[in-house]
Symmetry: C2
Subunit: 176 residues, 2 copies
DNA sequence: ACCTTTATATAGAACGGTCATTATATTTAT
DNA sequence: ATAAATATAATGACCGTTCTATATAAAGGT
């Protein structure tokens, strides 16, 4: 992977997450990434192609983040350590909601079918990820619901308050 | 309130919710509402003014919807009837997430401070609404987390599955 | 009833700006 | 010398907003 391409993906992710996909122009992306506009088009077919690759990159990071937190579940239950990992993930980034859902919201299916399909698939992958950790389908859906809630609410309240209620809910809903 | 203004607000809400605020141009709004462009600017100062009035209108509808469901709590606990009302609200509209959060996400504070401030205030109002129903602050925050989660997850899964897990969570977390 | 006023809605063009994308031509590295 | 990155400008489309000029319709006074 070219360093320039890496820079582009990095700054594009940042800008799109902070301000939205339609609000950020490509000129702004290349300026922030210190790259010429033609270099962007050398690496990506179009803006929407860039967005798709940004999402794929972010998905990889997110899942490996969750996975690494499960390996060492210390004394906690798996659900709890997953919740704590999710809170840490929220803390890492600006609190602007779920980037995947935001992509789906900005690109309705008639505007860019591929992005919408990818986001749907991503969320289903998350639920399947829970199921592979031996949660049944209902529990996995419930976990997803709680995580989405925590991500969304962190846009408004400070993360500590959100974390407290997430942990509380997990402890009462998932006792091993 | 002029009928034309009403039409504009109605169709603007629809389009903005379906496709996003930056994705929808004013020409599209006036065409959908069967109104001349100048009529829009006769009733609203700017696009962002229109957006703000759309949000205020929607907030009124949402809160009166929640309130009306609490008056007749039948046998259910208040938390449960609120959850069911929220599910009904989700079913009423297309499932494209929370319009208020989406507004905040598309207008970062440096882009339009007023919209961001309004959305923050709206969510705090929701929590205060729960507190007035005698939930303590933690419980109110938890309710908000669950509702946000249900709204977000309904963008991907069908509402029945989401409703089942929301109800389950409420029943186990809020026994009277 | 008739005229005048006032407010509101209309269509359409124009403005300046930004957008994604493409073309051209030059420079920088390996 | 081959490939990658650069700077710059052009394209055509769309954006929010404003201007102009016309049409409609209700209201009030005579």
């Amino acid at each position: 992977m070219s360093k320039k391409k890496e820079d582009l993906l990095e700054h594009a992710e940042d800008l799109f997450y902070k301000h939205g996909f339609h609000s950020v122009g490509l000129k702004r992306v290349v300026k922030e990434a210190n790259v010429a506009l033609m270099t962007l088009y050398n690496h990506f077919d179009s803006k929407e192609d860039l967005i798709l690759e940004v999402l794929k990159r972010r998905e990889k990071k997110y899942f490996s983040y969750l996975e690494s937190s499960v390996i060492k579940p210390k004394n906690n239950s798996i659900a709890l350590s997953l919740a704590e990992a999710n809170i840490r993930w929220i803390r890492l980034h600006e609190t602007n909601g779920c980037m995947f859902l935001r992509a789906k919201e900005e690109f309705s299916s008639d505007s860019n079918q591929e992005i919408v399909r990818y986001v749907n698939e991503h969320k289903k992958s998350l639920i399947r990820f829970f199921e592979k950790l031996n949660f049944d389908h209902c529990e996995s859906t419930r976990l997803a619901l709680l995580f989405e809630g925590a991500t969304a609410l962190s846009e408004i309240l400070n993360v500590d308050d959100v974390a407290r209620e997430l942990i509380h809910s997990i402890e009462h809903l998932f006792e091993k």
